[in-house]
């Protein structure tokens, strides 16, 4: 009965609560906010696969997200707003993001981490410029609205779809990180040279990690476009990457649940601070608070919420065992 551990029971409990939520609560804005949390949680988990599990810093995660958002938006606008074209746009997203992350990975992952960070930052800058300049396709900075397939129009249905999406991503990534391949990724994070000398082609595994992460980020972008029914160049912005970074770090690097908790916290804080901006002008610049919070987290709270909790648990457990031994 290893499946029914305490933590799994707790998760099932939270899952059931989230499934019941739309029937208990009738606040539309809260429903939409939670839908966004699910989508960003998937995005943050994909980021965590890079940062937390493989030890790669990417500053261009927004480009995958943006590609997903734009391919869905463009397909639904230029073709037709049916499920078929939505699925087709997902296929396009998967192909494009896989290709892009492969190219970027091959170009830079054999170098030190700085190069990957810089290269991804520059590439996403390039995408931002392309999206702004290619007006016939993207309508530039103004963006465009589009109508979505009829099934998605019901907010409650879409709530379940995005919940399902998040759970699928979680299960997949859990399986992925616990597989032998995932173990190798963690070995790379801990000590690249040693992994190399054990006979693993490090580059190969890093590229696989970046492709998986890129594809999931792209799919979250597609989902995000559906919630907004609108796309503009903001999806390529550096803030999108930073959001993912912040969610991962606050929640706890290297723990998938951390990414989910981080996504929830950040999205709710976002919502709340934008609300406050109407009252106090300084909150219009809420990014400053985010930035400061982020710096402080990196400095003083590097394990994040879930990481710290795990650490604390472990220590308690060890202490308890010592106590038991003493009394025995």
């Amino acid at each position: 009965m290893r499946f029914l551990t305490k933590s799994n029971l707790f998760l099932i409990f939270v899952g059931v609560l989230l499934i019941l939520f739309p029937f208990i609560n009738d606040s539309r804005s809260l429903l939409i906010l939670l839908t966004q949390v699910f989508i960003f949680a998937a995005f943050a988990m994909s980021y965590d696969l890079l940062l937390g599990y493989t030890g790669i810093v990417s500053f261009g995660h927004a480009m995958f997200f943006g590609i997903g958002a734009y391919s869905t938006g463009i397909m639904l606008k230029k073709m037709d707003n049916t499920i078929g074209f939505f699925l087709l746009s997902l296929v396009i997203t998967i192909l494009l993001t896989a290709l892009l992350s492969y190219v970027v990975g091959i170009l830079s992952l054999r170098l030190k981490s700085h190069f990957y960070a810089m290269l991804t930052l520059s590439f996403s800058g390039l995408f931002l410029v392309v999206a702004e300049k290619w007006r016939s396709l993207t309508m530039g900075n103004d963006g465009f609205t589009f109508s979505i397939p009829a099934v998605f129009k019901d907010r409650i249905v879409f709530y379940f779809i995005s919940f399902f999406f998040m759970v699928m991503v979680l299960l997949f990534l859990r399986r992925f990180t616990e597989s032998p391949l995932g173990r190798i990724l963690q070995a790379i994070r801990e000590n690249e040279q040693r992994t190399e000398s054990l006979g693993y082609t490090v580059l190969h595994y890093k590229v696989i990690a970046s492709i998986v992460s890129g594809v999931i980020a792209g799919l979250s972008g597609s989902m995000y476009a559906i919630t907004l029914r609108f796309v503009n160049t903001a999806v390529f912005g550096i803030d999108v990457t930073l959001d993912a970074l912040l969610m991962t770090i606050i929640g706890g690097v290297g723990t998938l649940f951390g990414a989910i908790i981080g996504a929830g916290l950040i999205d709710f804080a976002h919502h709340w601070l934008t609300g406050l901006a109407k009252v106090y002008w300084i909150f219009e610049r809420w990014i400053i608070f985010f930035g400061i919070l982020y710096i402080l987290t990196v400095m003083f709270f590097p394990l994040g919420i879930v990481g710290t909790a795990k650490h604390w648990w472990k220590r308690r457990k060890i202490k308890g065992e010592i106590q038991m031994k003493k009394t025995a």
Binding site: R110, M118, I287, G291, I292, Y294, I295, V298
Partner: protein, 287 residues
């Protein structure tokens, strides 16, 4: 022919501005092994504080001095409180300096408002000389001269002075320098302040050159500087200078002949360099 010459001067001037930004990055990386993602923020702060002082006092020189002082102060604060705690941990450095970048560029909007500021060259640098059909814009020549002077100055500093000797030795072997009784921490702060001051100088010079400054320019130019540092080779000053000129020139020519591909050409340059010579055209002193 005139067009080509004008484009060349234009490209050289842009290249020199990027050089001022990139050389700080490469110096800080070369010695301290810190990749400073907040460098663009220092650049933007230099631009805003310098242009603001210039518009208040009417003297461009005071503006430049103000920008440099801003850069030095911010550089000192950053090194002391942000970078020092995370020495030796690359991932943390990258993450934390990006956070600083974010705070710096938002703070700009708090202090000077979200709108862009406009700037014009001072009277004595405004206008142009005409030489047999070629128009030499004074301000661009001024930027080129400053860039060349900074390059010469840095070469002198690194190759002819005691400080430069320590810095070069520090690049080779930090612990050995420390063991010889030199406080390498102090040198680190100095190098960081120098790099920040150069970034701020680049920023204030950009103001009258492009006519407007805005908060997002830090990120834009930082990306260019990263490209330059990758092309030139991390830690190499000569490499940065040549790569900056290359990027400036190709940008100017592409903007004129194929405007849509202007930014893509830099990416392409970088990609080609990464494929064929991943350590950059000039291997850094680290290599």
């Amino acid at each position: 022919m005139d067009v080509i010459l004008n484009l060349t001067i234009n490209g050289l001037a842009t290249g020199m501005l990027i050089f001022l930004l990139a050389v700080g990055l490469t110096l800080i990386f070369g010695l301290m092994d810190v990749l400073n993602f907040a460098h663009g923020g220092l650049f933007a702060w230099g631009a805003y504080s310098g242009i603001w002082l210039y518009s208040q006092t009417g003297s461009f020189m005071i503006g430049i001095a103000g920008a440099i002082i801003t850069g030095i102060i911010l550089g000192w604060l950053m090194e002391r409180y942000i970078v020092q705690p995370v020495y030796g941990n690359h991932i943390q450095q990258i993450l934390i300096t990006l956070g600083v970048m974010l705070v710096l560029s938002e703070m700009l909007k708090v202090v000077w408002g979200p709108n862009q500021l406009s700037a014009r060259p001072p009277g004595y640098l405004d206008g142009s000389w005409s030489m047999g059909g070629v128009i030499l814009i004074k301000y661009r020549l001024f930027i080129i001269i400053i860039g060349v002077l900074v390059f010469i100055g840095l070469q002198y500093l690194l190759n002819r002075t005691r400080l430069g000797l320590i810095v070069r030795a520090g690049v080779m072997n930090k612990e050995m320098v420390q063991a010889l009784g030199i406080n390498i921490k102090k040198i680190f702060v100095l190098v960081f302040m120098l790099g920040s001051a150069l970034a701020a100088l680049g920023g204030v010079l950009l103001g009258p050159y492009s006519g407007v400054i805005y908060a997002e320019m830090g990120m834009e130019f930082a990306i260019l500087a990263f490209i330059v540092v990758i092309i030139g080779g991390m830690g190499s000053i000569t490499g940065s200078a040549l790569a900056a000129i290359l990027v400036g020139l190709s940008g100017a020519f592409m903007a004129y002949y194929v405007p849509d591909a202007a930014l893509a050409v830099n990416m392409l340059l970088m990609a080609v360099v990464l494929i064929f010579k991943p350590s950059g055209l000039f291997d850094g002193q680290k290599a």
